[in-house]
């Protein structure tokens, strides 16, 4: 400590500079030690504020977290030391960062009631929906305090380092300076080659090329990324205007209206739209739009706990090549059901109400599930299909709905649902424990 306590900040600075000149290493160690203390103080104050009911000193968890904060000033200093090869002085900025953090923590500890009142006041004033309440809560922002201070502090250090690096580069450049054509000293222009004159036409061409490339990249990005991001109303609007052909927009609207729920990527629905349109006229040259949308385009074959809609491409790839020469729905359905039965087995123990994707992956399902995937398969190749009241797949032939063709035999075994075993009682006691007295 100085013999006389300085009265001004300039006095403190002079004292600190003198101390640094006298023993730089000791000075740095002192500064970092103070930073460590401040950082641990910041951590402690935060923990006291968050867990006022806990005796922190007795909690092992408190100490296990404290060392990370204690180590941070040294680690930060060391990182900059390595990055700047020792040329950047970082101890004092780090001390300032920790001081700011601690001061913030003390403020947050002292002012919770005032902040709480402000929160309540704003909540009353703006009356936001409950899911937005956290925007008015002080704690919501306070959790970013440490991160914000550390990032800003390190950005300042980065800026200083770049400035120092630029200065040293300039100095080196000045040392290497060569005379220019006029022989003037101190100018660096002579080191550069004279610029070639650029004609107007080539300039226009370049601008056109850059513009075209940018537009191409933008359009490609739109087609690649838009279908894959979780979609909200805006994304759906953009997709409708830029990704969908005008003649398909009504079909797209139908899909969005009937089976899409926000927050999911649009890709499966775009796939339905594209592939269903490819098959639009194979079996029905004059199918009306309403029937096409409801029984060919629609990805929902039944009401299930979780809708599974991403099945069309898989089924289309597997089944379409087999019926590509067919024009009669019945004959095509016979081919379809035969191959479907080759791929998907029937077992009553698979009686969970799952969708087409799960059934196709598991390769097994129960009778009801087989009918569901049968309908989906028929739709994927362009045949209008639905489940009738008995849960059987039926297809549109001419203007008549009729039960879709079946396989030769559905199973070699007379399987039936096992049902509850004898003595199996639904509401049996868990462990036979008595009522606790």
């Amino acid at each position: 400590m100085p013999k006389q306590i300085p009265a001004t900040s300039a006095g403190w600075t002079a004292w600190a500079n003198a101390l640094e000149e006298k023993s730089p290493a000791r000075f740095r160690a002192f500064i970092l030690a103070v930073a460590v203390v401040l950082m641990v103080a910041h951590y402690t104050i935060d923990e006291i504020a968050y867990h006022p009911e806990t005796s922190l000193w007795q909690a092992w968890t408190f100490w296990s977290g404290a060392w990370i904060y204690a180590a941070w000033p040294f680690v930060n200093w060391l990182a900059w030391r390595l990055v700047s090869a020792g040329r950047l002085k970082t101890a004092k900025p780090i001390l300032i960062m920790t001081a700011v953090l601690s001061a913030g923590s003390i403020l947050a500890l002292c002012l919770p009631n005032i902040l709480g009142s402000i929160e309540i006041m704003h909540l009353h004033r703006f009356d936001p929906p409950i899911e937005k309440w956290h925007w008015f809560a002080f704690r919501f922002y306070w959790r970013f305090w440490t991160a914000v201070v550390l990032v800003i502090g390190n950005l300042v250090l980065l800026w200083r380092w770049r400035r120092a690096a630029a200065e040293s580069t300039e100095l080196r450049a000045e040392a290497r300076v060569v005379p220019d054509r006029e022989g003037a000293i101190g100018s660096t222009r002579g080191a550069c080659a004279p610029r070639a004159s650029v004609s107007r036409s080539s300039m226009i061409l370049k601008i056109l090329a850059v513009t075209s490339a940018t537009v191409a990249c933008g359009v490609t990005a739109l087609h690649l990324f838009l279908p894959r991001v979780p979609a909200n109303e805006d994304v759906v609007d953009i997709a409708r205007n830029y990704l969908i052909e005008a003649r398909l927009r009504n079909d797209f609207d139908y899909l969005i209206q009937h089976s899409f729920s926000p927050g999911r990527p649009l890709a499966p629905w775009l796939m339905h739209l594209e592939l269903a349109d490819l098959q639009r006229h194979q079996f029905y040259p004059n199918l009306d739009d309403a029937t096409f949308r409801e029984y060919v385009l629609s990805p929902e074959t039944a009401v299930l706990p979780l809708p599974e809609v991403n099945w069309r491409r898989t089924l289309w790839e597997n089944f379409c090549p087999r019926i590509r020469h067919e024009t009669d729905p019945i004959e095509a359905a016979q081919i379809v059901v035969r191959f479907l039965r080759e791929r998907v087995g029937i077992d009553p123990s698979y009686d969970y109400r799952v969708g087409v994707e799960t059934i196709w992956t598991e390769q097994m399902t129960d009778d009801a599930g087989f009918e569901r995937i049968y309908v989906a398969t028929l739709r994927s190749v362009g045949i209008a299909a639905r489940l009738n009241d008995a849960g059987q797949a039926e297809l549109l032939e001419g203007n008549q709905w009729q039960v879709a063709p079946r396989v030769l035999v559905s199973s070699l075994e007379d399987k039936k649902f096992p049902g509850p075993k004898h003595g199996l009682v639904n509401f049996r006691n868990w462990a036979g424990d008595d009522w606790p007295q």
């Binding site: 968050y50 867990h51 806990t54 922190l56 909690a59 968890t61 408190f62 977290g65 929906p129 409950i130 899911e131 309440w133 956290h134 927050g263 706990p305 979780l306 035969r338 191959f339 039965r341 080759e342 791929r343 087995g345 029937i346 077992d347 698979y350 009686d351 969970y352 109400r353 799952v354 969708g355 994707e357 799960t358 196709w360 992956t361 598991e362 390769q363 097994m364 396989v407 030769l408 035999v409 070699l412 075994e413 649902f417 049902g419 509850p420 004898h422 003595g423 199996l424 009682v425 639904n426 509401f427 049996r428 006691n429 868990w430 462990a431 036979g432 424990d433 008595d434 009522w435 606790p436």
Partner: protein
């Protein structure tokens, strides 16, 4: 570029590309093919092939012997169809002209298969098609000591010597005979005679006649093979995936559970296995237990990275928090490491909720402290709103919405709790005094070593509040942690739930005896309903055993007695699959009785089928005999 020698460089690069493509394709191939030869003492060597599904395991084996004019090359599709179902498919190029040579070749093949590490030597089925069926039958008769566990004959024939010369009574395995009614090579009558002969000799026979196809089943041949492979899979043991793991810590029942899940996973099996082989004990055991309990939807959709990270975070919590450390391993595996509640979407809620909650429970030492912190956090994030329909049951969706009904709140609470190592499950509570059901949660208390019920949707009821214990109730249905809760509430798959009412409310074991003129009536379905403010409400269902008895635990009657009645057979048949429809039962003349359930001792209820009388659901129920 003068240093580049294109004459050498281009072929090398092309070769490398080819090798890479081959390696990639081999990796993607869902099957492993092993070509081998078997030696016979008198007829030299013969070729054979085994097609094994990936990943590696010890598989039940199906040996396929093709028919006349077929060969090993043509067997490929049939073998692949068999292997797709998780069986090891083995084919052989046998001598089609010399039966003696076949016998030696088939015996050598059988011996070879028995020695393989991928084969379950006690689970081998034979499949003979046409001439292959004839040859294998003769082999069986000539070598009675070598028998399969299942024998399948497709379009096989008859030989006059069969009936006279040989004894088939030594066959100790079931036989499936498949034949077409239009078979012109071997008439259907041949197979009927063989079936009759086998049945006479006490062999279990299943004869299936396919209408309208020919000897080789024509276009339906692949379908017949698929169905035959499904039949074999159903009658042979499961493939054992755990056999390839060193130091597997699952017991036999757990292995069976895991293997069944792997079988159900179908094409996603390799993804699940990727997670298993990438983890180490003790996390690997937990991972396998989690896989064993996955719903079908999860088995088909879940990614290896998701499974692994879930189990890793659960174990991290187990190592960090005392309440989780002291939770029994099986409960930890089902209700901490498991990530499904009902039929919500798969989403990575655990890391996010853990980040939210770990600061809250940092200084907690007991289950109660941690539970209360979780409850407080949940109330900060999500508000109770009766209008919410609970359509979105996924925790992160609920968090986004910021409001939920009682089921949504319970799921949210359970998800936060599991993310910090609290074992918790969502329970369906049937109240006695209102129409509706209600959802609560049960937390495993590490200190008391028992489940603790909490009504988390009320804003003032934390861990130690006994409100939930005071309200009269009939039953509390808690998920067992096994497959089945997916849509269990919707379709009434009650076997996936367990009744925990006796833990928190006075209840009693009720023994229901159904008698028909004094004789015990088995297979009777008994329904239990309860009068409420909105009429009679379905409460429970029980099925009588061979002694005509059924047992179930019910909460003691608080306001009205229970109505016990026997379901008519047609309704019982429906309720065998989905018990829920029986709630729409229309009362007529039937066997019924009012029963007041007490909580002092085991209670017996006798229902006589001959005592049928009309029941009017609008009549006022009798009062309880004494206030409870």
């Amino acid at each position: 570029m003068r240093y580049v020698n294109y004459r050498i460089g281009v072929p090398i690069v092309a070769l490398l590309c080819l090798l890479l493509a081959m390696a990639w394709e081999t990796h993607r191939d869902p099957f492993r093919r092993i070509e081998f030869t078997v030696n016979t003492p008198h007829f030299g060597k013969t070729k054979a092939i085994a097609v094994l599904p990936k990943p590696d395991a010890t598989f039940p084996v199906l040996i396929y012997v093709h028919g006349w004019s077929d060969n090993l090359m043509k067997d490929g599709k049939s073998l692949r169809q068999i292997a797709e179902l998780g069986l090891a498919a083995v084919g052989i190029e046998y001598d089609q002209t010399n039966p003696a040579a076949f016998d030696e070749q088939f015996l050598a093949l059988q011996n070879f298969v028995q020695r393989q590490s991928w084969a379950q030597s006690n689970a081998i089925a034979w499949l003979g098609m046409s001439m292959g069926a004839q040859r294998t039958l003769w082999f069986l008769l000539n070598h009675p000591g070598v028998q399969p566990q299942l024998y399948v004959r497709l379009s096989g024939g008859w030989d006059e010597e069969l009936g006279s010369k040989f004894q088939v009574s030594s066959f100790k395995f079931p036989v499936l005979l498949v034949h077409s009614d239009n078979d012109t090579v071997f008439p259907l009558e041949d197979t009927r005679r063989l079936a009759a002969l086998l049945e006479t000799n006490g062999v279990s026979v299943n004869l299936r006649v396919l209408r309208g196809t020919g000897h080789d089943f024509g276009l339906d041949r692949p379908v017949v093979f698929r169905e035959m492979a499904e039949y074999c899979r159903a009658h042979l043991p499961l493939a054992d995936y755990t056999a390839t793991l060193r130091d597997c810590r699952l017991n036999d029942a757990e292995r069976q559970r895991f293997n069944l899940a792997m079988q159900r996973a179908g094409q996603n099996r390799r993804e699940l296995w990727k997670a298993v082989v990438a983890s180490h004990e003790p996390e690997r055991r937990t991972l396998m237990m989690v896989i064993g309990g996955l719903e079908d939807y999860d088995l088909a959709h879940v990614q290896a990275s998701y499974l692994k990270s879930n189990v890793h975070l659960a174990w991290q919590a187990r190592r960090t928090y005392p309440w989780c450390h002291n939770t029994p391993l099986d409960i930890f595996e089902k209700y901490v490491a498991g990530s499904r509640f009902f039929q919500e979407q798969i989403e990575p809620w655990r890391p996010l909720l853990n980040r939210l909650a770990r600061h809250e429970v940092k200084y907690c030492r007991t289950t109660q402290e941690a539970s209360d912190k979780v409850w407080k956090l949940m109330n900060e994030k999500v508000a109770f709103n009766l209008q919410e329909s609970d359509n979105e049951l996924a925790p992160l969706k609920i968090l986004d919405a910021g409001r939920a009904g009682c089921l949504g709140l319970c799921i949210m609470h359970a998800a936060i709790a599991r993310s910090v190592g609290l074992a918790e499950r969502v329970t369906r509570v049937l109240w006695q005094n209102s129409l509706g059901e209600h959802f609560c949660v049960e937390i495993w208390s590490a200190e008391d070593q028992r489940w603790h019920e909490i009504d988390v949707s009320a804003g003032d009821r934390a861990f130690d509040n006994d409100w939930v214990m005071r309200v009269p109730k009939t039953a509390i249905l808690a998920p067992t942690g096994d497959r089945g809760v997916w849509d269990g509430l919707g379709v009434g798959r009650w076997s996936s739930f367990t009744n925990t009412i006796s833990l928190i409310y006075p209840s009693v074991d009720v023994v229901i005896k159904v008698r028909n003129h004094g004789i015990p009536a088995p297979d009777q379905t008994v329904g239990i309903k309860l009068p409420t403010v909105k009429g009679l409400v379905y409460m429970a269902l029980a099925r009588t055993d061979l002694n005509g008895e059924a047992r179930l635990t019910l909460g003691r009657s608080a306001q009205y007695p229970y109505l016990f009645f026997v379901l008519p057979p047609e309704e019982a048949a429906v309720s065998a699959k989905y018990p829920f429809p029986f709630s729409r039962h229309q009362f007529g003349e039937e066997t019924w009785r009012w029963v007041q359930v007490r909580s002092d001792q085991t209670q017996e209820v006798i229902l006589n089928l001959e005592d049928r009388q009309p029941f009017d659901p609008n009549t006022k129920p009798p009062a309880l005999s004494k206030p409870l």
